[in-house]
Symmetry: C2
């Protein structure tokens, strides 16, 4: 236990290292070179700010021995994915992280490199933050800021009935990648080639926030969210929040070739794919007449989109198996607060 | 290690408890009842957003056995203190916290009560956040949002020479309160009455963000920051960032009766008071002609302000003891990134 000041990771050379590592990422003028108590952000006239904050814990949301650069990028991306699903363009991020005793200068440098790479890639410069020491695991907390034209944030609780349920990319890769890391010897993974296995693991390690779809969602989707806690659980949540029912067909859920191969070898893995989470794909509900324009936009951005079912009046989600039977899942649904 | 989704503190009854505890605090319409992926914030025309993010770790920034309600309030207040020093009025906060295994429902309830109390007291409603589990210590990360008329954020790096150096409240109470908790038997504390001892400990536990001074700082102070890492270190940082020199007199630094008694009994504690941190008072530089108006405003808000020295051309901070000698301090200066 030390006084407040000295508890921060700031005395000595580590302070200087952190300043040297992060100041170049703070390219936004409002970051004030990371030298003030706060950052300054202007919101363009006629626009609103979209705010999200997700924290990741070593040993919970990533493996403690994942490359620090990948941990940084995952933390950036899970937050940027929320912005994308809300139809928002990124403005910047605030970053706080808790440094465990075993984290050395090389790891800090790699971590900063990851933040910088994604800040640059996604136009989300570092605006400020805080660094603290912890005797516990490495924890990263990012607050991401985005902007939408006023009134156009795409909400979760406003999905309408009799519309298409759409998902971007492919579903289940990350959950399968995690399962593969935990037990590569299980039936679904034993026969996978090296390339397919790497693909699944990479999808767990490095989500791809679908920011390119943000603009296409605005004014088009009646409701949207990103798939972080599993397709089935997240869709259940969106339908419940919106007061509508929905039905999806498992056969229409987009699967990557690697996921398809794993599930073929071990059919029970379909449940992992549908409920496992960490997809960070966009799940949206939109009228049929918007589908063509949305698909065209997505395709131009190099992102596949698939209609997997429809909403309807009522409540609850029905997931239809190939044989038309309603599926049930052991894993419950989860909710962010 | 679990999938991303289930790593969040959300499966089961704890999920429902957290929702039930925090939704009532999310009174801002932009919080969307904490049921969306993101929050929505409008910035009034002609205004800019001021952003700050500070994290606190159990065993580092507070004692693990501090009351959870006080931990919550400290986390709120250290962030709101940054807004105050920047001249910003609070709009709201995002809250992420990492729950250790031993934290039970009663502790969560008390923690939420503390967040809610300060959200209400300071007009800083909960806009959203994230809850995660950790095998390590309890960690709280808050992002606070404030608003200033465009161009009027009070910066740290813009203090001018030949102006007064002003500080609010009293300095050193929190650092002495911490020292007292760590060793109540030392010379400075052994003879303190119960009331004085409680006062110092309370000042460590519950900072008082000087939001009432925010408006008075704007357009008046050439530079300001809050004192979180010790008066001497923080003033050194502000002067260096601003490219000016400064001199303060120890005899003019405002001390509470309790701090004065402790220092009288153990003179070395003056260094603790001046360098220890956790004051969360406002440190500002302003022209002499603004002092009357600032003092009048502060007095009306029930906050004392003291002129402790002056800035001048040059660089470096001189701290004058009662006998006129320049003091030096063992404890270095610290910097937030």
């Amino acid at each position: 236990m030390t006084a407040g000041g000295s508890g921060d990771a700031k005395a000595s050379g580590e302070d200087l290292l952190i300043a040297r590592l992060f100041e170049p990422i703070a390219t936004h003028p409002g970051a004030l070179g990371l030298k003030d108590d706060a950052a300054l952000l202007s919101v363009p006239p006629g626009h609103e700010l979209v705010l999200t904050k997700d924290a990741l814990v070593a040993g919970v949301h990533f493996f403690a021995d994942d490359p620090p650069e990948a941990i940084a990028r995952k933390a950036m991306r899970v937050n940027l994915s929320d912005l994308a699903a809300k139809g928002a363009e990124p403005l910047g991020v605030l970053l706080a992280f808790a440094i465990p005793p075993e984290m050395d200068a090389a790891a800090l440098t790699a971590f900063a490199r990851g933040i910088g790479a994604d800040a640059s890639l996604y136009g989300a410069p570092l605006l400020g933050g805080d660094t603290v020491r912890t005797p516990g695991p490495f924890i990263v907390s990012i607050t991401a800021f985005g902007v939408v034209p006023a009134g156009q944030m795409v909400r979760r609780a406003t999905a309408k009935p009799d519309q298409a349920i759409v998902v971007s990319g492919t579903i289940g890769d990350a959950a399968l990648g995690l399962a593969l890391r935990l037990d590569p010897s299980r039936a679904g993974f034993a026969g996978l080639g090296e390339k397919a296995a790497s693909f699944l693991k990479e999808r767990y390690l490095l989500p791809r926030p679908r920011l390119a779809l943000a603009r296409a969602l605005r004014g088009r989707a009646s409701g949207a969210m990103d798939v972080s806690d599993g397709l089935v659980g997240d869709l259940t949540k969106m339908l419940a929040a919106s007061g509508v029912a929905g039905e999806i067909e498992v056969d229409r859920v987009p699967l990557s070739p690697a996921a398809r191969a794993a599930i073929k070898a071990e059919p029970a893995l379909i449940e992992t794919a549908l409920t496992g989470g960490d997809d960070y794909e966009i799940l949206a509900v939109m009228p049929d007449e918007e589908l063509d324009a949305f698909t065209t936009f997505a395709t131009a951005a190099g992102i596949g989109v698939s209609v997997i079912g429809r909403t309807q009046a009522g409540q609850g989600l029905t997931v239809r198996a190939s044989n038309g039977a309603a599926m049930t899942f052991a894993r419950g649904s989860f909710s962010h607060f």
